[in-house]
């Protein structure tokens, strides 16, 4: 950990120095329009700018509140790790935003010419608009930056759910740095920044309206690789490979988190037009809502029919699955198609939860892989099936053209391969160098106390705690005892489990007293 802290210090200094150089070198030259006086005028064109600014910025604010929704989903984890999960979500939207400001935005949108100051770039990578300096210090570019920044931070948060309860904090920092700085921006450049996927000569090119591939597939596949590389939580799988349920601590949070996410999703999808003058926004919003409702309704009846219970976490996941799947096609399809997309999304989610948990034996506490990766891919393909040609010239199979489906398929496969390759590389390098998992003791007692210093739900004041400084020898003794304890708990974790016929479940084998003495 020491080693890592030093590295952080160095990188913080490096950031400051770079910022300084850029500010001195190029930042003083204002070629953009930093106060908006040239962009705005008292005319139709000026007013058009101002309504579009309102729409995009409010959309970005709505997307930002999705971070609160993600944090609330932590109710599905155990109490002892709630703070750690929330810290991950919080770090995404702060640390991730910094990284996107320094590197990501320039790599993603350089060369796209979507706003002033984004000129240089090729089909593979952008190289303009870093740190919003020079020409890109412009009201339009910065509005665009805000909207894209919240998207980038969302992508990182998706992974937090799959690797929760066992990932080291340092590993998460490195990972969110790479995600916001390289992985997401480069793929994003290919689809949204005028890169090679968007100009592919099939159909209208790869169309990903609000980020099924860019945000959800990339995030979800990285989540899959992360959860796979980490291994399951202790006690998740029995020796014969059958999974156990690990219940969370507060399902109310999960429901509320889902509602807040859906609230933010309206900004995510409808805001992605970046323009209120594009009146399709109303159809987009309606499609988003219908798909979420269809997904949740299907899961309601499915779980009810299969288990006899109305399984609330599945309802929430069903709604989220519908929302993820409609993210790419929301602008291109009619409302009836969004019902179909939502229904299929919920079924895909149910199927891939089973696949990931039972068949692949990858432990994904929040279902991020099933909700985001599987449905991200389905959403991309759904554009190729259901686009009805009324918007953006995108015509899918139902209008009799298969080319768009081919383009969508290529985009999906590239997203999958890109995220998978990066995921394997990143996680295996981190694992080799510093380890990705917390120690067994920390996993048993909860990451909150050990890494963040305080439980998420601290106990009554008079009962347990007194303030006071800790003396030096006490610390020494604590450390010594902790080492012994850590070793003992690690031994437990590797202990043999046997199947008890009497109890019908797996139990720890007895320790022979003779062995111990």
């Amino acid at each position: 950990m020491k080693f890592f802290t030093n590295k952080l210090k160095i990188s913080a200094w490096l950031l400051f120095v770079t910022t300084g150089i850029f500010v001195l070198g190029t930042g003083i030259v204002y070629a953009g329009d930093p106060n908006g006086s040239q962009t705005y005028s008292d005319s139709i064109a000026g007013l058009k700018f101002s309504v579009n600014f309102i729409w995009t910025l409010l959309g970005a604010f709505l997307v930002f509140i999705m971070q609160a929704g993600f944090a609330f989903l932590g109710g599905f984890l155990r109490q002892k790790n709630m703070l750690s999960y929330m810290a991950h979500c919080f770090i995404d939207s702060t640390f991730g935003a910094m990284v996107f400001y320094f590197f990501g935005f320039g790599l993603m949108f350089g060369g796209s010419k979507l706003a002033p100051g984004l000129e240089d770039g090729n089909a593979w990578i952008g190289s303009d608009g870093f740190m919003l300096l020079g020409n890109s210090y412009d009201v339009q570019t910065i509005m665009f930056w805000l909207f894209q920044m919240v998207f980038a931070t969302k992508t990182v948060s998706i992974i937090a759910g799959a690797v929760a309860e066992r990932l080291k904090f340092g590993a998460y920092l490195i990972y969110s740095f790479l995600m916001c700085g390289l992985i997401y921006p480069i793929y994003g450049h290919w689809v949204w920044g005028g890169g090679w996927l968007s100009t592919i000569p099939f159909g209208a090119g790869v169309k990903d309206f609000a980020g099924c591939a860019c945000v959800h597939t990339i995030g979800g596949v990285m989540a899959f690789v992360g959860a796979w590389a980490l291994g399951p939580r202790k006690g998740k799988y029995n020796p014969d490979g059958s999974p156990n349920a690990i219940p969370g601590h507060n399902i109310a949070y999960m429901v509320i988190g889902t509602l807040i996410l859906a609230f933010g999703w309206f900004g995510f999808n409808a805001g992605s037009t970046l323009a209120a003058t594009d009146l399709r926004i109303s159809v987009i919003a309606a499609n988003t809502f219908i798909a979420a409702a269809a997904g949740a309704t299907v899961m309601l009846f499915l779980t009810w029919g299969m288990t006899g219970y109305i399984d609330v976490p599945y309802l929430c996941n069903g709604a989220l699955a519908g929302l993820v799947a409609i993210t790419a096609p929301c602008a291109y399809v009619a409302p009836w198609a969004s019902v179909v997309i939502g229904v299929i999304a919920a079924l895909i989610m149910r199927g891939s939860i089973w696949l990931v948990e039972v068949k692949m034996k990858v432990d994904d506490p929040l279902g991020a892989v099933a909700v985001h990766a599987a449905n991200g891919m389905w959403g991309m393909l759904a554009v190729g099936f259901f686009a009805d040609g009324t918007y953006g010239g995108v015509s899918g199979l139902i209008t009799g053209s298969g080319w768009q489906l081919l383009a969508q398929f290529i985009g999906t496969v590239v997203a999958l391969a890109w995220a998978f390759a990066w995921g394997c590389g990143v996680f295996y390098i981190i694992r080799y160098h510093m380890g990705v998992r917390v120690s067994d003791l920390v996993e048993f007692e909860g990451i909150d106390i050990h890494v963040h210093g305080s439980p998420c739900y601290p106990v009554e004041e008079g009962l347990v705690s007194i303030s006071g400084e800790v003396v030096e020898e006490q610390k020494e003794m604590d450390r010594e005892q902790l080492t012994i304890l850590e070793k003992a708990i690690s031994n437990d974790a590797t202990r043999e489990k046997i199947y008890s016929e009497k109890l019908g479940r797996w139990v720890y084998a007895l320790v022979k007293p003779s062995k111990k003495k």
């Binding site: 139709i44 064109a45 058009k48 309102i54 409010l58 709505l62 155990r78 109490q79 219940p247 969370g248 601590h249 507060n250 399902i251 109310a252 429901v255 509320i256 509602l259 609230f263 309206f266 900004g267 323009a275 209120a276 003058t277 594009d278 009146l279 399709r280 926004i281 109303s282 159809v283 919003a285 309606a286 809502f289 219908i290 409702a293 269809a294 949740a296 309704t297 309601l300 009846f301 009810w304 029919g305 288990t307 219970y309 109305i310 399984d311 609330v312 309802l315 929430c316 709604a319 009619a334 409302p335 009836w336 198609a337 019902v339 179909v340 229904v343 009805d388 009324t390 918007y391 139902i398």
Partner: protein
């Protein structure tokens, strides 16, 4: 053993499967019949133009949609609020009810409700067929109504229908059967709400009454909250009080909610959404009255909260945060109908009276009528919905929409409002009573009493809301 208890659900599950197939069938049929007929303007290219007219469309779209999103956030508010009011053992049940009714409601409103409510209103393209009593065009947003303007209206209206549905959930919490809840969600969004909505907003007979400016309900105090609250009254009455609420001599016991934090956050989230609810109901930000509507909403909420805070302090010597929250919501509900028509000083009076009405009706419903309402939905939404309708007839100052109330010396508007109140009560009570009566006889409304005592969460949902705590 639990499986044995649950076998009676088999029939309903089959029904629901049929419902899903039906849904898919309709979607499919819609596709084959109407997909190729694009008489509407689904891309917005014909509606928008680079002119003042086009810009007007785009700001109004942005305003309406953002307001719709805010109203959606009220679902999170209701969820928080109700979860705080119920007991720990039933939290999950309440949460899932309040979560699922907007999902089901959305699909049903898309299938049937919207067409019944706005057909014939001509508020947007594709809504041309209908008479004064019922509408019949715009189903499934197909054909002519696959249009950006219609979709914007739909988006805003579905949020209202879902809100109305969620209100009922609070009054019947902790004892209602889940499938009964689903069936009434379908009924409310398909029939109860749209038909009255058509009379009020879809160029129906109430809106065209020859008294004053016709019955006016700006953002739905009577329509959304009145329907929700009065249906809640019928439902709570039919389902009976919770186990242990009333003693044999008729005196009532207090059943505590389990988390006051949720109640306060829920109230704040609701008020946040209410700005979209009221100010967004202009459906146009080019109508600059929106600022006054927002101010009125805020003032009424504040006045209601302060009144009940003061009252609770005078009566019990404790500052009762739950009453304060209810007071704020009561003010919001009452100003919903009159927000656009009254001056700010009147908003304060409306809020104060609303909170007093809430206090009195909470008391009388619990102790006199002996109807058990865990969340207080009947008092907050039902009673104040009616008061909100009447307040339009009293305080309207004639500066907006030509609506003049008693303070301008004209009683005709009050008469129109009064007629709409009577109609609302008659419609909700008759249709609601019939529906719940049939439901009670066929499926039953209540969970078995042993389940009610041990908590519905484990029985219906397989887990408690706070597993392992």
């Amino acid at each position: 053993m639990r499986d044995n208890i649950r076998t009676f659900d088999k029939g309903i599950i089959l029904k629901m499967r049929t419902f899903i197939f039906f849904l898919m069938l309709i979607a499919g049929t819609g596709f084959f019949l109407f997909n190729q007929v694009f008489a509407g303007d689904p891309s917005g290219a014909n509606t928008y133009s680079e002119s003042i007219q086009g810009l007007k469309f785009s700001v109004n779209f942005a305003w309406t949609l953002l307001s719709a999103f805010l109203v959606f956030n009220m679902q999170a508010g209701f969820t928080f609020l109700g979860a705080g009011f119920v007991q720990k053992k039933n939290t999950l049940n309440y949460l899932s009810m309040s979560f699922i009714d907007f999902c089901i409601g959305a699909l049903v409103f898309w299938l049937i409700g919207f067409g019944l409510m706005f057909g014939g209103s001509r508020l947007a393209p594709g809504l041309s067929l209908g008479n004064r009593f019922i509408g019949y065009s715009g189903f499934l947003l197909l054909g002519d109504s696959y249009d950006v303007s219609t979709a914007a209206l739909w988006m805003f209206q579905i949020m209202f229908a879902a809100t109305s549905c969620t209100i009922v959930t609070g009054a019947v919490a902790e004892r209602f059967k889940f499938h009964a809840h689903i069936i009434y969600s379908i009924f409310l969004c398909a029939v109860l709400y749209p038909v009255f909505g058509h009379w009020m907003w879809g160029k129906g007979w109430l809106e065209l009454l020859p008294f004053g400016a016709g019955a006016r309900d700006f953002a739905g105090a009577g329509l959304v909250h009145g329907i929700g609250g009065l249906t809640a009254f019928i439902a709570a009455w039919m389902v009976g009080p919770r186990y242990g609420k009333y003693n044999p001599d008729g005196s009532s016991n207090v059943i505590h909610g389990h988390n006051l934090l949720y109640i306060v956050i829920g109230t704040l989230t609701l008020i946040f959404g209410w700005f979209g609810f009221n100010a967004g109901s202009t459906l146009a930000v080019t109508e600059l009255r929106v600022s006054i509507i927002a101010v009125n909403t805020f003032l009424a909420a504040a006045a209601g909260a302060v009144t009940l805070l003061y009252l609770s302090f005078r009566i019990t010597k404790k500052s009762d945060i739950i009453m304060t929250c209810n007071g704020a919501l009561a003010g919001c509900v009452a100003i919903t109908a009159s927000g656009a028509y009254v001056p700010p000083w009147a908003a304060i009076i409306i809020g104060i009276i609303a909170s007093l009405i809430t206090r009195i009706s909470l008391y009388s419903i619990e102790t006199k009528l002996k109807i058990d309402d865990p969340v207080g939905a009947i008092s907050v939404h039902g009673a104040n919905g009616l008061w909100g309708l009447l307040s339009v007839g009293i305080f309207s100052d004639g500066t907006y929409g030509g609506v003049k109330g008693l303070i301008m010396g004209s009683g005709w508007q009050l008469l129109a409002q009064f007629i709409s109140c009577i109609t609302l009560v008659a419609w909700c009570f008759s249709a609601g009573f019939l529906f719940f009566f049939v439901l009670k006889r066929t499926f039953g409304l209540r969970v078995p009493v042993n389940i009610e005592r041990s908590g519905i969460d484990i029985y219906e949902h397989g887990t408690s809301c706070y597993p392992g705590m």
